[in-house]
Symmetry: C2
Subunit: 597 residues, 2 copies
Amino acid sequence: MSSHRFMSGSLRDSHVGQQVLLKGWVQKRRDLGGLIFIDLRDRSGIVQVVFNPETSKEAIETADKVRSEYVIEVRGEVLNREPSTVNENLATGKIEVAASEITILNKAETPPFMIEDETEVSEDTRLTYRYLDLRRKPLQETFKMRHQTTQAIRNFLNEETFYEMETPMLTKSTPEGARDYLVPSRVHPGEFYALPQSPQIFKQLIMMSGFEKYYQIARCFRDEDLRADRQPEFTQVDIETSFMSKEEIQDMTERMMKRVLKEVKGVDITTPFPRMPYYEAMDRFGSDKPDTRFDMELVNVSEIVKDSGFKVFQGAVENGGTVSAINVKGKAKDFSRKDIDKLTEFVKIYGAKGLAWLKSEEGTLNGPISKFVSEEEAASLTDALRVEDGDLILFVADKTSVVHDSLGALRLKLGKELGLIDQSQFNFLWVTDWPLFEYDEEEDHYAAAHHPFTMPVREDIEKMTTAPAEVQAEAYDLVLNGYELGGGSLRIYEKEVQEKMFEVLGFSKEEAEEQFGFLLESLEYGAPPHGGIALGLDRFVMLLAERTNLRDTILFPKTASASDLLTQAPDAVSSAQLEELHLQLGGKALDTNNEES
Amino acid sequence: MSSHRFMSGSLRDSHVGQQVLLKGWVQKRRDLGGLIFIDLRDRSGIVQVVFNPETSKEAIETADKVRSEYVIEVRGEVLNREPSTVNENLATGKIEVAASEITILNKAETPPFMIEDETEVSEDTRLTYRYLDLRRKPLQETFKMRHQTTQAIRNFLNEETFYEMETPMLTKSTPEGARDYLVPSRVHPGEFYALPQSPQIFKQLIMMSGFEKYYQIARCFRDEDLRADRQPEFTQVDIETSFMSKEEIQDMTERMMKRVLKEVKGVDITTPFPRMPYYEAMDRFGSDKPDTRFDMELVNVSEIVKDSGFKVFQGAVENGGTVSAINVKGKAKDFSRKDIDKLTEFVKIYGAKGLAWLKSEEGTLNGPISKFVSEEEAASLTDALRVEDGDLILFVADKTSVVHDSLGALRLKLGKELGLIDQSQFNFLWVTDWPLFEYDEEEDHYAAAHHPFTMPVREDIEKMTTAPAEVQAEAYDLVLNGYELGGGSLRIYEKEVQEKMFEVLGFSKEEAEEQFGFLLESLEYGAPPHGGIALGLDRFVMLLAERTNLRDTILFPKTASASDLLTQAPDAVSSAQLEELHLQLGGKALDTNNEES
């Protein structure tokens, strides 16, 4: 037969009369009035195939044997459906294929769960049979979108004359940052490679190699305890450029995002993206990655309530803390005391000791703390929070970081629960003017807020050793709908500055030399000014595909305990393998020769 | 100033009169008659910048300070050079830039070696300062070509509706194949991930997931002792399809190669590529990856000499071996007895016991063995080897595998040394009709000639257990200029066949279940017929870029002892890290609970 392969989901009434060859999976078989109907599925979608005992006796005999998930090949003619049987919910619903031949390519046992758009089956079962889970339409579409996203990114960057380049996976372990995955060396007993947490140092070396514009869609690894939105291996769009300013890198990133949103989602987004300094983001949204799709911003009312009769407010301000509030518009009546108690429990998760509240009712602010609020204070609060009748005001008074964390989280929670978020929006935002350092109270020294290669603002270099907390970084984070999509910065390209950086971070000269000597040396031989950005691809695809679980965007993801339920990795290995790697299993290391720092 | 950035190497006489901004590295500074000339280099090439004391006193003062590899920014006007100073060897040689401003962006110490096209410095030094080595034009061009190659491949596959998909790096260790790199698990004491030797199993699972057309430019890992053309991590273009025949996969691969050669090299290649069965390749070229750019084929003369008076010939044939010969055309006079002694030493590397020879001189075959060669035999040899006056015939008589290995290697050596190879050719070739198994004499059982998922020819399935050596595989290797560029096959998609395969390979039912149970199970739920190919990208780029060292095609390669000389990986790690991973350094494993098989 001369019919050639068509994709099931692509057939339309324009194909009527054509002989087609189809290959795919049996979604469903129904017997009806002597006819057999098979919904045939391939990656493009589903088409109805009908077997008529009159047109091909042999075919219908075979069709009678097939069951769900059998793999079959069908030849037939595309016909219009009877008007009464047209299925408007199916792209191919106006037509059907009258089969003349069928071949069973492979049989299938009854799968542990049906291949349907929605499934109730546990995630563990889905991950164990990931190849079945992936046959489901929402996942098929997600990975098609992931493909489209990476190609849109590549096409854009190629046009911008970037080179795609590959950095090593077997790299050197550095104690900075998250925990490394280690790879024992067979050739060098007692030594290990580390899988890269990011290609950061290599992409800087690529700039020192004169390639000027680099990108890579790079696998990265972090051996951290996993949360819902973390995976041991993840993918980032890694970009580095020489000679470009912060603004040029941001502009380029914006054009890339515009291109992706247009090509993948058909959405036009506005550029340039808004810029918001870090401190403003914390103050207004209680977050360094504000979701700007809705208001209900935090309002710092410390100045208004600093002399308040309410000791909690007064005390917080006196102790250098903050009092902030959000206005839950028009919800005074909807929140009972019990409801507010629940919100109080919620903010306690973030370290807040309590949640104060006022309701605006018929021109007055009522609630347990109203007796402590002077008329003047009430007027100022009403003004600052734009309070109208029926509004609910929620306050947290505490250390500033606790106020931001708790009220920021509460804002997000209420925004979601009250349906304030326009899900169709893609709100991009640059968070800028980051501090270079953050103080690590546990370790009692300064740590790099981004990473130790981030360039300080030039005027602040002097302050690196004298007033580290005041030093601003040439760093910028890209935020989308309340998610940190990525972060970038200009990098240090002067040896003296990099040495100063290591010094502030608590490295001795010897430690800096041992860990990063090659990088310091590379800065001596003509390192160009450079900078870049890294974007989390998995998360980006999650937002584009409107999924809520990062595992839905990774083809073969791992569980929270970093296991692959499908292949059963990790697994025990033979003692011969361990011996070759000069390793023994067991508790405390006996050999302390390899101990460091 | 309003001038905008230009790339140095892109300036031509069409730019004369334009104000330009350039950024890059000082290749060279010369002072001449009060002027300062700087050759400014960026990734696009070099342009001459001239500083004139009259036009900008300040600029020339700064220019006077710069040295090789300083990073500078220059503004100036493009001018025609004086006719006498035009440099025809430089793309920008007709013009120069008259600088009005210069800024030093970064200084440079004198580098350990000069950034020149050709360098005499040791490879170790080049790898230690890889970022300097990479500034050299041949490497700049190689990595530009690598970028172009991967994009040409991606563009082709995208157009063919393939999805690019990412498979995991933290996978399960399987004892098959080469040695795995292992990654200890922190969460699961005593267990390990393995870095993938290839995404083979995952790409098959992708087919079972219904994605139908997959590709990935995938990093792979093998912990093997390294030869010049091996690296611990390497990159392959990994392709898998469902429902396609062997011929369709080969055709698609050919069109991809045609596209790459055209886009990257501007070369038109002819498709379809020739096909040669494995046994024919071995017989005619002594190699499963024949270099077909020149003749000098092996001729099997066993039949002619089996009754020869020369006992070595007769004995080889009697013992089931082979006598083959090559004809070194017209070189009888050029090879002295001493020269041939050297060739004899060469074939001994490959296990041959000796090299017999005859020279055709004035119509007769002369040489030490000529007295054993009858007139009839001489005539037959002359005929079979198309001997003409002045030809040199070289014979190896031995086990067939030794004949092929030694004479195949000798053919290549002579082909290169005698300049018989047309370096401008790209000779692609499919080697087909592979055996499914090869007998492993050391282990005394059959091993998979390709990998254990390769499909046998359907008619041979029955012979898998009864006559494994006779079973042919649905496998095909792509050869380019004597290099194995890649290999592919149809895969087993029926559980019974896969079980039979494991059985022949010596797995017990339990072992097969433990190692590959998930794969066997996946074949039960509607696995489509599928197959694919994997191409070695590093080697492909090496051939395209006309390099001879694989390390020149990998950005940050490792040495023969798998070290990164730049970052000093692998390295010792802290005892705290080891403790977290439940590992101790040391010799024999104490804990045998984890021992397998």
